[in-house]
């Protein structure tokens, strides 16, 4: 038990960005748009935050202010890039998987291209100091994630706008008929998933590494995507799924210090979260919990 408590700070460090991204993905799917660009949007947010923090740090800015602004910039750029997906999916009725894949491919180019231009290297320059833990050894990102989860629950289930958003994902035709602007609602949902993924990317880079490289995000966005389905599209479920994945990942790092587990290659623990997801998806198959209109373009007037 004390071992798990000891692991808690690193688990939270790993879980926070995955959870923030997954909540965004959940909101997006609740409104009827599937966003597989989460991975790419995280990368863009991470690169922006890392680059911004390095440059502001070098200019001698106050450390906390610099961190805050870096996160904010990741937040904004994530949102801006997600608008590409929004236009494609909402206005042009494009295949949402294709436009998401496009953003993922684009982000792997754009982030490193930007690093090449800014720092003449295939990664951003290292910053001296990232985020600091509090007295309990916990990074502020964990609290950000908590706020995001609570806020998403409150908005989705306690405010009228949340119910409208969910209606757009379940039955857009019915939503439109009672005067809800489906397209506008979906725009906000996609944008929210973009800003949250961007913010989460910043959280990854400012807590877990010292620079952005092409390997920084390394599938976290895809894990978040899986957490959405595994968590059955509810804030609580998604939180549980993210915690499970995060624990499995943290285990990969911590197992190195446990003699009994050291005999196993670390890769065994790396595989865990993905195997768990697959197993869970198979075990809980049968009833479909996904919003029924998720992934389908909505055309006004078409039945």
């Amino acid at each position: 038990m004390s071992m798990i408590l000891g692991m808690l700070p690193s688990i939270l460090m790993i879980v926070a960005p995955i959870l923030i991204t997954a909540i965004g993905g959940m909101i997006c799917e609740k409104a009827g748009v599937v966003n597989i660009a989460l991975e790419g949007l995280m990368a863009i947010g991470a690169c922006t935050a890392a680059a911004a923090h390095v440059l502001m740090e070098a200019s001698g800015m106050n450390h906390s202010l610099s961190l805050f602004l870096a996160l904010a910039m990741g937040f904004v750029t994530g949102g801006l890039f997600s608008l590409v997906h929004a236009v494609a999916a909402i206005n042009l009725n494009a295949d949402q998987t294709i436009s998401g894949t496009g953003i993922n491919l684009l982000s792997s180019g754009v982030t490193i291209f930007a690093s090449q231009i800014l720092f003449n290297s295939d990664r951003t320059r290292e910053f001296r100091m990232g985020m600091q833990t509090d007295a309990l050894g916990i990074y502020p990102t964990a609290y950000i994630a908590l706020v995001v989860v609570l806020l998403s629950w409150f908005v989705l289930y306690k405010l009228p706008v949340g119910m409208h958003l969910r209606a757009c994902g379940e039955h857009p035709g019915a939503a439109e008929s009672v005067g809800i602007n489906v397209k506008k609602m979906r725009y906000w949902a996609v944008f929210t998933s973009g800003v949250l993924a961007g913010l989460a990317g910043g959280c990854v880079v400012l807590t877990q590494t010292i620079q952005y490289t092409s390997n920084t995000i390394n599938g976290r966005g895809f894990i978040a995507l899986a957490a959405v389905s595994f968590g059955r599209w509810t804030p609580l479920g998604v939180t549980g799924a993210a915690l499970l994945f995060g624990t499995a990942q943290a285990f990969a790092i911590i197992a190195n210090n446990i003699p009994a587990l050291k005999v196993l290659p670390t890769e065994v623990f790396n595989i865990l979260p993905y195997m768990v997801t697959l197993a869970a998806l198979v075990l809980f198959s049968g009833k479909n919990y996904a919003p029924s209109a998720a992934g389908k373009p909505y055309e006004k007037g078409a039945s």
Binding site: G109, P265, L281
Partner: protein, 366 residues
């Protein structure tokens, strides 16, 4: 009817060309915006395409051969994606199937019987079979348990990556990044190609790729298997009603889809390297295969041409870097191309709008 279909297929090809041109256009503008000379980018591309170096007037056929060699996995992964796409599935798992193919080919190369020809044939077969299994699982998960293939393939990609590391770290002579050298009998090198192309890496894999393209074309266009798959892709319920076994159709097509990607892994393992690699990350051929198939409209010819384009871009990367153009511009162009493909549906909306206007006009006149 026939004429109309022809017009449609032609316009599909034309759209692809347009989409590629737009990708290059935006990429060019971006290069110019950051203060680099876009001409250098095109010089690099021209050299990778023709072997001719505009700056010093030297010709080296090696560049052409390397472009061809890079195209092989792109084309195969494109076929993989295209095959699944015809059944209405989105196979993001090409990467995992590719990695498994690569891993098994490496394993057989290092542990298999060192008998000429038989050795590499076994290694390539192992790659194809494991690719098919890795893809087939997705089909079964989808058909039987209704697990979204997008999520399950992504998960299997990472399982494949780490599984590959576990396996390769156990192979003879394994360090953290490579294994012992392959025995000569496992290699698929082609000494004739090496002699005429200044020791390029072009190998017998290109013949396997050509056979794969022909098989793809044949299954898709000439067999009832392909017909059933396409019917399933168009309308699952109608296919079921007309007696096509949907579950089997989905599983088999995912397996064939995976076989193409597995073959790609086998060819890269035995053709482009002399030793086994312990992968630290993904090679991304599987992911880029998605773009290749989309650009090629999932046809045999289109996918081949798109794969050649991607091979060209990849081969030009090093040349660009030498001319102070960040090589990542090629990734940006690829990403832009896929985004423009997604936006392609705008053309359809525009056409509908025009038709509607036309109709309104006619009615108004009457």
């Amino acid at each position: 009817m026939k004429a109309e279909r022809k017009r449609l297929s032609e316009s599909d090809g034309a759209t692809s060309v347009l989409v590629v041109l737009m990708g290059f256009l935006v990429g060019t503008i971006l290069v110019a915006l950051v203060g680099k000379n876009p001409l250098n980018m095109y010089k690099a591309l021209f050299q990778a395409l023709s072997g001719y170096n505009i700056d010093n007037g030297r010709m080296n056929v090696r560049y052409i051969a390397e472009t061809l060699n890079y195209s092989v996995p792109f084309i195969l992964c494109g076929l993989s994606m295209g095959f699944a796409n015809r059944v209405g599935l989105f196979n993001i798992g090409g990467e995992g199937q590719y990695i498994m193919g690569l891993t098994l080919a490496q394993t057989v190369a290092l542990l298999g019987p060192q008998i000429p020809v038989l050795h590499w044939v076994l290694a390539i077969l192992a790659a194809i079979i494991i690719g098919a299994l890795w893809g087939g699982v997705v089909g079964i998960l989808k058909a039987k348990y209704e697990v979204s293939e997008v999520v399950s393939t992504i998960m299997l990609n990472y399982v494949a990556l780490y599984l590959s590391r576990i396996i390769c770290l156990q192979l003879p002579g394994a360090t953290t990044y490579k294994t012992a050298n392959f025995p000569k009998t496992a290699l698929i090198e082609n000494t004739f190609f090496q002699a005429i192309t200044h020791n390029s890496l072009l190998n017998n894999g290109i013949f396997m790729m050509i056979v794969a393209v022909i098989i793809y074309w044949f299954i898709m266009e000439k067999t009832s298997l392909g017909y059933g798959m396409r019917a399933t892709g168009f309308n699952k319920d109608a296919a079921r009603a007309s007696g096509i076994p949907v579950v089997r159709s989905i599983s088999i097509s995912m397996a064939i889809s995976g076989a193409f990607a597995g073959l790609a892994g086998g060819i890269v393992a035995l053709g482009s390297f002399k030793y086994g690699r312990v992968l630290a990350g993904m090679d991304n051929y599987g992911f880029d295969g998605i773009a290749v198939a989309l650009v090629g409209n999932c046809t045999a010819l289109g996918t081949t041409l798109a794969g050649l384009l991607f091979g060209l871009l990849k081969n030009a990367q090093a040349l660009m870097q030498g001319k102070q153009i960040p090589k990542e511009i090629t990734f940006i162009i690829q990403g832009l191309i896929v985004i423009f493909i997604a936006l392609r549906s705008a053309l359809k909306l525009y056409q509908e709008y025009l038709d509607k206007r036309q109709l309104q006009k006619e009615v108004g006149v009457k």
